[in-house]
């Protein structure tokens, strides 16, 4: 059996900062019809100075938090929520991936396993990008406050797997989709920046995970279950599982 461990992280700092980054990402992509995201986002301006791979978020935090709410609502809903043949760019993983069997089930199992329960109002869309990002925020939070290394390890590995199997897998497709429909628009830039953060952060996570059972010593490994991603290029993963291919 191959064991995995995390080395080389300054857990206390990185987890806390990444926790804030994922919160910012979640807020950036929350529906402005549900809540006005601007006050919370205003508080997070400057995050990029502490987290280099979140640097691209900073100008968007400022731009979104300074935008008219009506503009945010119109642009968001026109892209992600309403359309004649469904939203032009569905912001739910299930829809972006063609309602692949098992997608939502695995997401819900992750949430269940770590005690994250959605309110009734949002329960029907556990695969919403903003919700998945909030879950990552929550895992980072738990990592930050872990009682010991073993405890932290659970959250670190869970982040890598959840991100790899879900966010880093499908958000590039969303980003490409939005770019095709509304290149240069505010939310096209937000999605691109969030996608960049997810991909970079995922790579960063994988870079600190080692396979303790490897014969030649500690070697960073990619979790076996994670699909290969090419997140930096903003294109869909070339090895995206086929329908039902990753049925749990």
């Amino acid at each position: 059996m191959t064991g995995r461990s995390v080395t080389g992280r300054q857990v206390a700092e990185t987890a806390a900062l990444r926790c804030l980054c994922y919160a910012a990402c979640s807020e950036l992509l929350a529906s402005p019809h549900e809540v006005d995201p601007r006050p919370a986002l205003r508080e997070r301006i400057g995050l990029g100075e502490a987290v280099p791979h979140a640097r691209a978020l900073d100008p968007l935090l400022a731009e979104v938090s300074g935008a008219e709410l009506a503009r945010l609502r119109a642009e968001y809903s026109g892209l992600f929520e309403v359309g004649s043949q469904g939203p032009p760019a569905p912001i739910r993983e299930d829809l972006q991936t063609g309602q692949r069997a098992g997608t939502r089930e695995e997401v819900v199992r992750f949430y269940d396993y770590f005690g994250y329960t959605l309110d009734d109002k949002f329960a029907w869309q556990p695969d919403h990008l903003s919700v998945e990002l909030e879950f990552m925020h929550y895992l980072c939070y738990r990592e930050a406050q872990a009682a010991d290394e073993a405890d932290a390890l659970s959250f670190q590995l869970a982040q890598a797997d959840f991100s790899g199997r879900h966010l880093a897998s499908w958000v590039p497709q969303l980003a490409a989709n939005v770019d095709q429909i509304a290149a240069g628009s505010l939310y096209a830039r937000v999605v691109a920046a969030v996608q960049e953060f997810i991909a970079t952060d995922h790579d960063w996570q994988l870079g600190t995970i080692v396979d303790a059972g490897a014969a030649s010593g500690a070697t960073p490994v990619r979790p076996e279950s994670s699909p290969r991603v090419s997140g930096r290029t903003g294109v869909a993963p070339e090895a995206a599982p086929a329908d039902g291919g990753d049925e749990p």
Binding site: R4, L20, V82, S84, V108, T117, W124, S154, A158
Partner: protein, 940 residues
């Protein structure tokens, strides 16, 4: 940590990082959910996690299993269990809790089909409407913005009030389609809203060409069907204009079990259907010649004396005397001045062979009204000692002098003789030998039935076909007996719907045939002129206007059509003559509001869309005729997004109308509905709608219906939700077993208890001596060739699909993968070869009305000279945004006799007697098309 969404936890005090005032601390800030206290507390033990498989190890369990079904008009009402976890419906399965239907007939359950079993996925699909939407681009541009319910309903209410208080509410339509009609509480809610506001409801029963007007002409009823068990009881079942192997998946087993039990199941259809595949015999009649086939079989029955003399003497008008000079029935008013003064037009005569004299027919006359319940209550069909002659001619002294009379039976023989099998073989394509063999099989089996679908109503002369079918049945004594009869669907008498619509306010509902509404508001006379020529267009229009002028049918054309609501229907999908309807009616509307759970072409072209809860997100009741169970729709999960059920959507509209009326200081206005003066106080719309707040939710509406509808078991909605299905009172293997059952059984009562029928003659009436019927030579049924478009050789037929119920589920990806994945049209191999078309080619189907593009599905199951398209495909699924209705040009073909009135039972009667919007009397052609034609979709 539930309730603690902003718990700031420092990592370590010594390593706090401060950047421009930003505290680099882990701050748990959850918008969407909560975390259990035990896991959120700092330092709490984490669940051990090493690999993703860890999250899969726990056994998957369900939070709840709800009872539900799919509130759509397949008439299946299949009991399903709906499995829920974490607020999501993950799967459903058929529920097998139906009881035995009888000792000698198969059971009703389990029930279900592949569409129902896809719904747990479909309801979360991309087509789902989740939020109120406002159009921000041009109509049909696909550009939308999400808006709040308040903003949407305020805008809609403002437009409503502008029009209702100036032009009158009549110019605002509230179309309710088949998705609405079958959900009892939703239907009642809509009816109440319409009753209060005064909007016009163009009913869809005739509007989609489903109304069996020929059955009504003959029997005075349209609801003549029994449960599916009746199929098993039949000894010979003609499945005609119907394809139950495809369209009634939960019930098809009744046909095949009957076949294995010795019943002759005979499919009659132009195309080789899946039903034909499984039947004992298949009669492949040419499209549009079914009446010729039926009348030829009538001729065989008469010629070979296979008829039931006692039955037709008592139950039908066959022995009634008819004047040969005027072709009218001999009536009392013809015989003497007293009868003339009293206008005793419902007294008819027989020739009694026992006395050799003319006698008054029992059960005619005396009642206060020419038709109706009084006569059923006080009179009888019992002939007593009378032995009516069926054949012969006699001279009778009348006010006009001596005239010769004969019987309807004699006239029928003459009419049938015009349809000899040998002559009809050339018309129908069915050999005389097969016609005779089929007629004999049918006439010598008892009970025998004709199981027919609504396609029998979709030809212009479908009424003649139904009358001919009933002739076959009645001559052989098969109407009104179990296992026999004409099996259109029955319909439960849900008195609670009408009761709820009018409770506390009285009836003021504007309901009109969707067919006449379209004729008036889409200038369909002009379509007739372009498609069928001036003579037909002018003639039909003249009769149409005369019917209105005579007040036989209501006229709601005066105020125009300026605003429309569409609920539970995809009205821009299925119109016959869609281009004309769009151009002259729909596209000119000042506001279009769609209430729907899923996107379709009607919503695509709307100004506002209101999101409606789907099948598993709402409470309601369903009750159909084919299985005697009331079925619940329970709320398995809350409505997704901001969708609400129909009750609540109409309540929000009512609230907005009230709110804006008060803000605008509007006082009550006077309205007039069918001659009655009605006061409309729009500021009180919400109070009226909710009965001053006593009705709080759709469950209260459902309970109202349960409590006030005879035959529905008196249970609470909660109990029904817990049980899923409950058998209706007084139902056995037949829907006709008890007068207190909720089903129509008037015809059976007439046969069993000799009660007069609710027709002008009080009999099964095959002879109609209305002057229009005589003028068009339709006093008795006859084959009349269907119309065609000159130069276009192919007839296009359509039918309900295996993989959708109307347009619902038509776009489901998995179901599409079981078909061709895109709209297809079935063509005959010879026809395809003659046009250089191969299977899978894109073809253009065209005629003078328009064109559409679809994939050629070359099939030897099609006759030469016909093409076939399953219906339901939405225009948005076609290359150019137009579907099959682009070539269906029949919407204006309002057959004059179907607007006849002032004749006993004939005259406008909502949902019973009205002209159908027909779909068949046209021809077209096809050609190979450029495979790159059109865009794949029309969305922006």
């Amino acid at each position: 940590m539930t309730g603690d969404r902003d718990q700031h936890v420092q990592i370590t005090a010594s390593r706090r990082v401060v950047l421009h005032g930003l505290a680099a601390t882990a701050a748990l800030s959850t918008r969407y959910g909560s975390v259990a206290a035990a896991t959120a507390d700092a330092g709490a033990a984490a669940p051990a996690y090493r690999r993703f498989e860890d999250v899969l190890r726990n056994k998957w369990t369900w939070d709840r299993v709800a009872h539900g079904t799919h509130g759509t008009n397949c008439a299946g009402t299949c009991a399903f269990n709906v499995y829920i976890r974490k607020g999501i419906v993950w799967r459903e399965e058929q529920q097998g809790m139906y009881g035995a239907s009888g000792a000698d007939v198969p059971d009703y359950g389990p029930r279900g089909c592949q569409k129902g079993l896809r719904h747990a996925r479909y309801m979360y699909g991309p087509q789902r409407i989740l939020y109120p939407m406002k159009r921000v681009g041009g109509r049909g541009s696909g550009r939308w913005e999400r808006v709040s319910w308040e903003d949407a309903t305020n805008a809609i209410a403002d437009k409503f009030l502008d029009l209702a208080t100036t032009a009158g509410p009549e110019c605002i339509s509230y179309g309710s389609g088949t998705q609405m009609s079958v959900k009892l509480a939703s239907s009642a809610s809509l009816s109440r809203f319409a009753n209060i506001t005064g909007v016009t409801v163009p009913e869809f029963y005739s509007g989609v060409g489903d109304l069996p007007t020929g059955v009504y002409m003959t029997l005075g009823q349209v609801y003549t069907g029994d449960t599916m068990a009746a199929v098993f009881k039949s000894r010979c079942c003609l499945v005609w204009m119907s394809n139950p192997a495809v369209t009634r998946i939960p019930d098809a087993h009744f046909f095949w079990e009957a076949k294995y039990n010795g019943t002759k199941v005979i499919a009659i259809s132009p195309e080789f259907t899946p039903t034909a595949l499984h039947s004992n015999h298949w009669v492949n009649v040419r499209p549009g010649t079914d009446t010729a086939l039926a009348m030829a079989m009538v001729d065989v029955i008469l010629e070979e004396k296979l008829y039931d003399v006692p039955y037709i003497s008592e139950q039908t008008d066959m022995p009634f005397l008819v004047r040969l000079d005027t072709r009218e029935f001999l009536r009392e008013e013809h015989l003497g001045i007293i009868g003339k003064l009293a206008v005793r037009e419902n007294v008819y005569y027989l020739w009694d062979e026992a006395t050799g004299a003319m006698v008054r027919a029992p059960g005619t006359g005396l009642a206060e009204k020419p038709v109706g319940r009084d006569r059923r209550r006080f009179e009888t069909l019992d002939l007593g000692a009378i032995r009516p002659a069926l054949e012969g001619r006699w001279k009778v002294r009348t006010l006009d002098g001596e005239v010769e009379v004969t019987t309807v039976f004699e006239l029928l023989k003459q009419r049938a003789a015009r349809h000899r099998p040998e002559a009809m073989a050339g018309v129908t394509g069915v050999s005389a030998a097969v016609i005779r063999k089929t007629a004999r099989m049918f006439a010598t089996a008892k009970p025998a039935m004709i199981y027919t679908g609504y396609a029998a109503c979709k030809w212009q002369h479908g009424d003649l076909l139904q009358r001919a079918m009933l002739l076959m049945l009645s001559l052989t004594g098969n109407v009104g007996i179990e296992g026999g009869g004409i099996q259109f669907g029955n319909a439960p008498r849900v008195r609670g719907i009408g009761g709820f619509a009018a409770a506390g306010i009285g009836p003021a509902l504007r309901m009109i045939s969707g067919t006449t509404w379209d004729y008036d508001h889409a200038n369909l006379k002009e379509l007739n002129r372009r498609m069928y020529g001036d003579e037909l267009a002018d003639t039909y229009d003249r009769y149409y206007k005369e019917s209105i002028r005579e007040d036989w049918f209501p006229d709601y054309s005066g105020a125009g059509w300026r605003m429309a609501f569409f609920a539970g229907e995809n009205g821009a999908n299925w119109r016959a003559g869609s281009r004309q309807w769009r151009k002259e009616g729909f596209d000119r509307l000042e506001m279009i509001v769609v209430l729907a759970p899923d996107m379709g072409v009607t919503a695509h072209n709307a100004d506002y869309i209101l999101p409606i809860a789907h099948h598993y997100e709402r409470a309601d009741l369903m009750l159909q005729s084919r299985i005697p169970y009331i079925q619940v729709l329970d709320i398995a999960v809350p409505p997704l997004g901001e969708s609400v059920d129909d009750w609540e959507a109409n309540r929000r509209l009512a609230a907005a109308i009230s709110r804006r009326a008060k803000e605008r200081g509007l006082s009550a206005v006077h309205d007039e509905v069918d001659g009655r003066s009605v006061r409309r106080d729009y500021a009180r719309t919400h109070d009226y709608y909710t009965m001053d707040g006593r009705i709080k939710s759709v469950k209260d509406v459902a309970q109202f219906i349960i409590n006030t509808t005879p035959g529905i078991p008196k249970v609470s909605f909660a109990e029904l939700a817990a049980r899923g299905i409950i058998r209706v009172d007084h139902s056995g293997s037949s829907a006709w077993e008890h007068e207190e059952s909720p089903y129509h059984h008037e015809i059976v009562e007439s046969v069993r208890e000799k009660k007069p029928y609710e027709t002008f003659t009080g009999r099964q009436q095959f002879y109609v001596d209305h002057e229009w019927f005589i003028r068009f030579d339709e006093a008795l049924p006859a084959h009349r060739a269907p119309l065609e478009n000159q130069g276009f050789p192919l007839r296009m037929l359509m039918g309900h699909a295996r993989h959708s119920i109307h347009s619902m589920w038509r776009d489901d990806p998995l179901l599409l993968s079981l078909q061709r994945g895109e709209p297809d049209v079935y063509v005959n191999p010879q026809d395809a070869a003659a046009r250089g078309v191969a299977d899978g080619d894109l073809i253009r189907i065209f005629n003078p009305a328009g064109e559409f593009f679809a994939q050629a599905h070359v099939s030897s199951g099609m006759q030469p000279g016909m093409i076939f398209s399953y219906h339901g495909w939405d225009p948005m699924q076609y290359r150019t945004g137009e579907n099959f209705s682009a070539v269906v040009c029949t919407a204006g073909l309002i057959k004059p006799t179907t607007m006849a009135g002032d004749y006993g039972h004939l005259g406008y009667r909502p949902l019973a007697y009205a002209p159908n919007q027909t779909y068949r009397d046209f021809t077209c052609d096809f050609a190979r098309a450029d495979p790159d034609t059109g865009r794949r979709t029309v969305a922006a």
